[in-house]
Symmetry: C2
Subunit: 198 residues, 2 copies
């Protein structure tokens, strides 16, 4: 094996996409804690799988304990967390997957950086919109209650800002829609983006 061939990826993203019948994409959910990101990401991952498509959710659950276990919740660490999610999601999309990311990702500049680290058209920003009052009334993990009690130093919406998207590809208002309607809206959007004409 003396004659090493040049180092070239022989299988392109386009070949992967052609075989599986849909494009890769990054569906970037952003919104306050308890806005519904996790619920929707899981529901749509299942719907896409059932429709024969390849989808995979990246969230705090599979990243905070693994790849990003070295990061805390300071501003710098949050930015690095989101940077890595963006790079990772870009790789999944290149492998042909519909990568759904489910992170608060409160800062516009961080979301813009994630968008820029992948090819045009891959990144789809989806604003999961629910008011702070609505999210606080849900509070399924009790973290807003803890934050109000001063137990969480940098809680988005309470003592750290959330910057809503200014030009999201899709906005889903989870205070107005049922889970079924919200997930159907997201599913239709993803199918259009990954199977429709570009």
């Amino acid at each position: 094996m003396s004659n090493l061939t040049p180092f070239i990826h022989q299988i392109t993203q386009a070949q992967r996409e052609q075989r599986q019948g849909h494009r890769g994409a990054v569906i970037w959910l952003t919104g306050l804690s308890a806005s519904g990101k996790s619920t929707l990401s899981m529901a749509v991952e299942k719907q896409l799988f059932d429709a024969g498509m390849n989808a995979y959710v990246l969230d705090g659950d599979n990243l905070r304990h693994g790849l990003n276990s070295d990061l805390g919740f300071s501003a710098a660490d949050r930015t690095e967390n989101i940077r890595r999610v963006g790079e990772l999601a870009a790789l999944f999309a290149e492998a042909g997957q519909i990568c759904i990311t489910s992170f608060i990702s409160p800062f516009r500049v961080d979301r813009a950086s994630a968008r820029k680290c992948m090819a045009d058209g891959i990144f789809c920003e989806v604003y999961i919109n629910a008011s702070l009052a609505e999210c606080e009334s849900r509070d399924p993990k009790g973290i807003y209650r803890k934050a109000r009690a001063g137990l969480i130093p940098e809680m988005t919406g309470i003592n750290s800002p959330y910057e809503p998207p200014e030009a999201a590809e899709l906005v889903i208002n989870t205070a107005e829609l049922s889970i079924a309607a919200a997930s159907a809206t997201l599913f239709d959007f993803v199918v259009q983006r990954t199977r429709g004409a570009m």
Copy 2:
């Protein structure tokens, strides 16, 4: 959407694997620079794709400029580089992919950590074995020449150690085998690990 459902991944690795007809895995290539890792990873990615399987190569090319662009080549940064590759590869395997990683990964402790960050049986260590003299005679990028000239401070094999695997799942001697024979050996191994009985 007031009734948030609990946060549970609804599509399991097993479901993904059943649909695509093979398991996810991490095929971890390790060996000196110019030992043949890149050539073999690319060849086998194509062979697996042509066999209808989902495979994706992670290498310095798609990681050093993206996810790991904040890392240099110090000992600490090399360890962190390999840690992230391990975590990332584990996610790809969970998504059902056969993730082929192509990194020198010279230290046993780092490879052992990568093995530990995924479920038993996922990580397959493949030693791409060629002597330093052989690799140095190939030197397709001229880096050994540069290292001998003192231009590369921590070049594996020259002024930084390479620790060969002690119990690799597979050893491929690229000085003895042709590219075709070496890639066929690796392909057969991967098919056995991902389609054969466990």
